[in-house]
């Protein structure tokens, strides 16, 4: 009972400005957790798709049937979209009978574009997490400083200053810092985790695009 009252009182008896800051921090925390969950799901999906696609790709299936398989899917992510971009360009140019070097270059360019699109998709909302991670402690600190200013101002009007007159105000103000840290820590941790994941995925996609372009290269030049 006492616990319940104390936490609730701490928040409700804080000044309006501090309450506003707490609201902002709560919102930041909610949104960043939304993004974290979203990213986790996205990376899990990308990982699964990549494993599946790689197994399929190296199993020796015909590239055209592999491309056709992808047509049915609504969303194509990661490695497969790189493959589809390259292969689409290849089939389109094959009809036009360009010289092999120009064809190679066009295929590689379209794969690079697909790759950078994928990177962009992976990095989505990471800037938000970085912002929350780096600024919310400061926002919380601002709330605390404001609250402590208020409580010291109140202290100045009391004749006999005891710990009991300052302590509630300070602990009330410190809630803001706690909230800032609570919002920041998961954001920072997940930002670091996700950005390293983005790097590793991008590296894998890059390798794949190189491998695929070497296959295309072989095809183009064998045709000549």
């Amino acid at each position: 009972m006492g616990q319940e009252l104390s936490i609730w009182q701490l928040v409700s008896s804080a000044s309006l400005f501090v309450q506003l800051i707490m609201m902002v921090l709560l919102l930041a925390s909610v949104v960043s957790w939304y993004q974290i969950a979203n990213r986790v799901m996205y990376f899990n999906q990308a990982q699964g798709e990549m494993n599946r696609f790689e197994a399929r790709f190296w199993s020796g299936t015909d590239l055209h049937t592999l491309y056709k398989e992808g047509d049915d899917k609504q969303v194509v992510v990661g490695m497969e979209s790189v493959f589809r971009a390259g292969y689409k360009e290849f089939t389109r140019l094959a009809k036009k009978r360009l010289d092999s070097d120009a064809m190679m270059e066009a295929c590689q360019r379209s794969m690079r574009v697909a790759l950078s699109r994928e990177e962009e998709a992976m990095e989505h909302s990471l800037p938000f997490l970085a912002t929350v991670g780096s600024t919310s402690p400061y926002v919380g600190l601002l709330g605390t400083v404001w609250g402590i200013m208020g409580s010291f101002h109140g202290l100045g009007q009391v004749q006999q200053a005891t710990l009991a007159t300052v302590a509630p105000g300070i602990s009330e103000a410190l809630v803001a810092t706690a909230m800032g840290l609570i919002a920041a820590i998961p954001a920072v941790v997940s930002y670091n985790r996700f950005s390293s994941k983005v790097d590793s995925f991008a590296g894998k996609y890059d390798t794949f695009s190189e491998e695929f372009s070497s296959i295309l290269h072989r095809q183009i030049h064998s045709r000549d």
Partner: protein, 259 residues
């Protein structure tokens, strides 16, 4: 990407709702600390050997007469001001009459000024004394008010405070004043008891900063050992005992000391 997806939204909302619920309704382990907060019963105890109340009482009448003589000499600043406006009027002639008056204040100045200064000093000292006296009086009043309001806060205040008084008196009887004890020190001790009145544990939860004083209180509590009155209370009104005296804290501050 811009539209809200269901699963992440559910994850974040449930997470935050869970955290807030935990904070509001308490984590099971945090409940152990609850008694610390449910303590309107912090007993404001004073270790009194001589009654200090008698001292400030005579001080008040002393303080009152002293400001009075102070008020009378107050008009003195006026003569000091007069010499200043006087230098300007001299040019117009119709003031020979005030000129006659001037020498009178001017003549005695060196001595009178000294006297005035002394008087002023004395006056200021008296004023300060009066002020201090007033502050002291106010503080006492505040303390009394605080004690009164605290009593109001306690639900079964009378019961608790009578037993609190008894316990305080018992501990005070067992207390010996260490030499280093000073006015204004305060130590808070937490005492755990059983329904048989035995003290099963005690610890200083807020020290006074002077270990000798803290130890003297701990020793007093140890020496007391058992509180028969609490056993009686536990028999008569177990719920009141459980609520107030299973675990309680007492603030001690020495008040009998000369400065």
């Amino acid at each position: 990407m811009s539209d809200i997806k269901l699963v992440p939204a559910a994850v974040t909302l449930s997470l935050h709702a869970g955290v807030i619920a935990l904070l509001l309704f308490g984590i099971p382990t945090m409940q152990d600390t609850k008694p610390l907060e449910a303590r309107p019963l912090a007993i404001q105890a004073k270790l009194v050997i001589e009654k200090p109340v008698s001292r400030p009482a005579p001080a008040k009448p002393v303080a009152k007469p002293s400001p009075k003589p102070v008020v009378k000499p107050a008009p003195k600043p006026e003569p000091v001001k007069k010499p200043e406006p006087k230098p300007t009027p001299p040019p117009p002639k119709p003031k020979p009459v005030p000129q006659v008056k001037k020498p009178e204040p001017k003549g005695p100045t060196p001595e009178e000024i000294r006297k005035q200064q002394e008087q002023e000093k004395a006056r200021e000292a008296a004023k300060q004394k009066a002020l201090q006296e007033e502050i002291r009086r106010e503080q006492q009043k505040e303390l009394a008010d605080a004690l009164a309001s605290e009593d109001d806060l306690v639900e079964d205040g009378e019961l608790a405070s009578t037993y609190a008084d008894i316990i305080t008196a018992l501990i005070s009887n067992n207390w010996t004043r260490p030499l280093s004890a000073r006015n204004g020190m305060q130590a808070t001790i937490q005492i755990m008891t059983t329904p048989t009145g035995e003290i099963v544990g005690h610890s200083i939860i807020k020290g006074s900063g002077d270990s000798a004083f803290d130890i003297s209180i701990t020793r007093a509590v140890t020496r007391l050992g058992k509180i028969e009155e609490l056993a009686e209370l536990a028999r008569k009104d177990p719920s009141a005992y459980e609520k107030n005296f299973r675990r309680f804290t007492i603030n001690f501050s020495p008040q009998d000391l000369r400065r």
